[in-house]
């Protein structure tokens, strides 16, 4: 792992720690810096980072505290306190399932 990927990992931890202390502005600063590092070094952000940050306001999301998580048919909707929604699928491993397929795939 190169330095940039490691920096993103560290910033993720820092953002989480700051959000846990309800210091959301500082968490935002770490999230923005991590995004910028990823952009400069042409790295994809880790999936955990993408799922737990708000695309619109860069807040670090803590479900139950500053984000609402609802399960819909085949996808998760996570709503930040700023009002932005993010949707991602759940179900089988390849990530692009439909709910009806699930019975066939489970071993």
């Amino acid at each position: 792992m190169d330095i940039a990927a490691e920096r993103i990992e560290r910033l993720h931890e820092l953002a989480r720690a700051a959000a846990t202390e309800d210091d959301h502005d500082r968490a935002r600063y770490y999230v923005r810096l991590a995004r910028r590092v990823a952009e400069r070094n042409r790295l994809a952000l880790p999936r955990k980072f993408r799922r737990f940050t708000c695309d619109r306001c860069d807040a670090y999301l803590r479900p139950g505290r500053n984000a609402r998580v609802r399960l819909q048919d085949g996808h998760v909707v996570i709503t930040c306190d700023c009002g932005a929604h993010a949707r991602y699928p759940y179900g089988n491993d390849d990530g692009n399932d439909e709910a009806s397929e699930r019975e066939d795939d489970t071993p």
Partner: protein
């Protein structure tokens, strides 16, 4: 590429425990805390004493910083705790790994900056290595410090 004495000037400074060993302004010498915000020319250091915390903004140029770095295993353990715990615990770790990192540091340091000789490092107990860096080596935009392009003097 872990956080080692020679990669430190290119690595993330936020969150690292730091102490100011030398400064143009005598009142700053000896300040000790964690880096919370970095800008091109300054480091903001959060100092916790007797339960309350304050944030001091220190210019990078004109100061010499001593960062305390630990090996990765200890670091992951530290990061999983809460931030308040981060500030006042030095996690115990294996002693030999940081000493090895220290030796590996050697004089290969100075990937950027004009005076690598200012870089001193020494290991102390409990798996913590202290890296002394002149602030002028850290002058860079935080997101760009990691990049290696533009280091060569050749056009």
């Amino acid at each position: 590429m872990a956080l080692t004495p020679e990669t430190l000037p290119r690595h993330e400074l936020n969150g690292l425990p730091v102490r100011i060993v030398e400064s143009d302004d005598d009142s700053r010498v000896g300040l000790e805390g964690r880096v919370v915000i970095e800008t091109t020319n300054t480091l903001s250091i959060e100092i916790r004493e007797n339960g309350d915390s304050r944030v001091v903004m220190v210019p990078k140029s004109g100061s010499t910083f001593e960062f305390a770095i630990t090996d990765d295993a200890a670091d992951a353990e530290k990061a999983s705790g809460t931030a308040s715990k981060l500030a006042d615990t030095q996690p115990a770790a294996t002693d030999d790994s940081s000493a090895a990192a220290d030796r590996a540091g050697g004089d290969a340091a100075g990937c950027r900056g004009d005076d690598p000789s200012r870089d001193r490092r020494h290991a102390a107990g409990e798996g913590v290595a202290y890296v002394t860096v002149d602030g002028s080596r850290l002058l860079s935009r935080p997101a760009r410090r990691t990049e290696t392009s533009g280091d060569s003097p050749w056009q």
